[in-house]
């Protein structure tokens, strides 16, 4: 769904169009859930909080004014604040070792075992990141936000987000044994814009 369509759905939802709000939910719920699930330690909490994010969004929607602010960034700022409130209330630190452990149905037990090992390695590598780096990875890769939306969600500059992303990727690659022969700087030539941050 493109930005123009989202903007129109938001405008319709602001006028009380329930169907438009349902479309917004359908578009964003997996991304929001993924972000939330990466920040809390069990699927039940992730489900409750995702629900709450959309309820809060519904109530705050009349006050949302686009004016250059991407809706995705605004929504994920709500999601981020909801998670922060939850963690504060529950006095729990977010853990990346998610409680879900779904096996893949179409593969054999050996493949499943290898996949589990791989997933556990990714979980450990994510756990080694700083809080900010982990949040950027969750917003950019798990929720699929643009750098601009992630910046809006975290209340940071876009350049800061790219820098955090660059360092997070380098750390993940090291942890997972995916380092390139030419070093991480070689990768920064891509369109992520991380090169300037890395050299800054």
């Amino acid at each position: 769904m493109n930005d123009e369509t989202i903007d129109r759905l938001v405008a319709q939802a602001q006028q009380g169009d329930l169907q438009a709000f349902a479309s917004i939910f359908d578009t964003y719920h997996v991304a929001v859930y993924r972000f939330v699930a990466s920040r809390v330690n069990n699927p039940s909490d992730a489900e409750d909080l995702t629900q709450l994010v959309f309820v809060k969004a519904l109530e705050a929607l009349p006050r949302f004014a686009a004016r250059g602010v991407p809706f995705g960034g605004w929504l994920f700022r709500l999601a981020r604040n909801t998670v922060i409130d939850h963690v504060r209330t529950r006095r729990e630190h977010s853990e990346l070792e998610a409680a879900t452990n779904r096996a893949t149905e179409d593969v054999g037990p050996e493949t499943v075992a290898v996949m589990r090992d791989d997933l556990a390695a990714v979980a450990r590598a994510l756990g080694d990141l700083t809080e900010d780096q982990r949040e950027v990875i969750a917003l950019r890769f798990f929720a699929g936000l643009s750098a601009r939306e992630a910046a809006e969600a975290m209340g940071r500059q876009e350049g800061t987000i790219r820098g955090l992303q660059f360092r997070a990727i380098a750390a993940l690659r090291r942890s997972l044994g995916l380092e390139l022969s030419g070093g991480v700087e070689q990768v920064a030539d891509g369109p992520t814009g991380a090169t300037s941050e890395a050299s800054a």
């Binding site: 319709q12 349902a22 699930a37 409750d48 109530e59 909801t82 791989d118 997933l119 992520t192």
Partner: protein, 230 residues
């Protein structure tokens, strides 16, 4: 949201794949969770209630209870075939209202919505017919009420105007949906008039729904007449 992947270079494929696999396996809601969230959010939007607090003991337990209730009902309905759950979720049964609520909340929001709504309206009409045939006044009353609500929602959704100046394609789509709806309403009206004749006990309920269906047809006709010509 941005469709551009954060990684574009070939060198990043392995890491991108690893993160995507992790997100898919460990961070994605299953179908049931998606349905539960959708039902809760859309019902909340419909009721206009204030946001509940999450984190307190009672609210958390209520959330769990709702989840268990939803799973139990859906699982029970999935294996009905004349079972107790099937009876309970039939018109007049204690779970009928919940079933209608869930079916309504799970309606798709995209282009298939009108057809899905018409299918639900037809189901309510069939339930009403069956209850009348069985002489089940409670069932006829419940199905009749559900029919009226479903009809109202269908008409409200179909005649609402896209904001911000609809495009020609949207107007054409709305006209096509309204024509489909009009044909379905005519069929429903003819059916209701047929089953109303030999029956006395459900007469008031039927007359009420016949009047509502006729009014819905008038609303659709008025909307069709008001649409800009292509």
């Amino acid at each position: 949201m941005n469709d551009t992947a954060p990684f574009d270079g070939h060198a990043d494929e392995d890491l991108e794949h690893a993160l995507a696999a992790y997100a898919s396996a460990r961070l994605s809601p299953d179908r049931w969770a998606t349905n539960r969230m959708r039902v809760a959010v859309i019902e909340h939007a419909r009721s206009g209630a204030p946001a509940p607090a999450v984190g307190g003991g009672l609210e958390r337990w209520w959330g769990r209870f709702q989840r268990l209730g939803f799973v139990a009902l859906v699982a029970a309905l999935a294996i009905t075939g004349g079972s107790a759950a099937g009876v309970a979720a039939s018109p007049g049964g204690p779970l009928y209202g919940v079933r209608v609520q869930i079916e309504t909340a799970l309606l798709p929001s995209g282009t298939d919505r009108t057809n899905a709504q018409i299918a639900l309206l037809t189901e309510r009409s069939d339930e009403l017919t069956e209850a009348i045939k069985d002489g089940d006044q409670n069932g006829a009353g419940a199905a009749g009420d559900a029919y009226g609500k479903q009809l109202q929602q269908l008409v409200d959704d179909s005649v609402s105007n896209p904001s911000g100046g609809p495009t020609a394609a949207e107007v054409a789509k709305q006209r096509a949906d309204l024509m489909t709806l009009r044909a379905a309403l005519e069929r429903q009206l003819a059916h209701l008039l047929t089953i109303a004749k030999p029956n006395d006990t459900a007469a008031a309920n039927l007359e009420n729904n016949i009047a509502k269906t006729q009014a819905a047809l008038d609303t659709v006709d008025a909307k069709l007449a008001a649409l800009p010509t292509p």
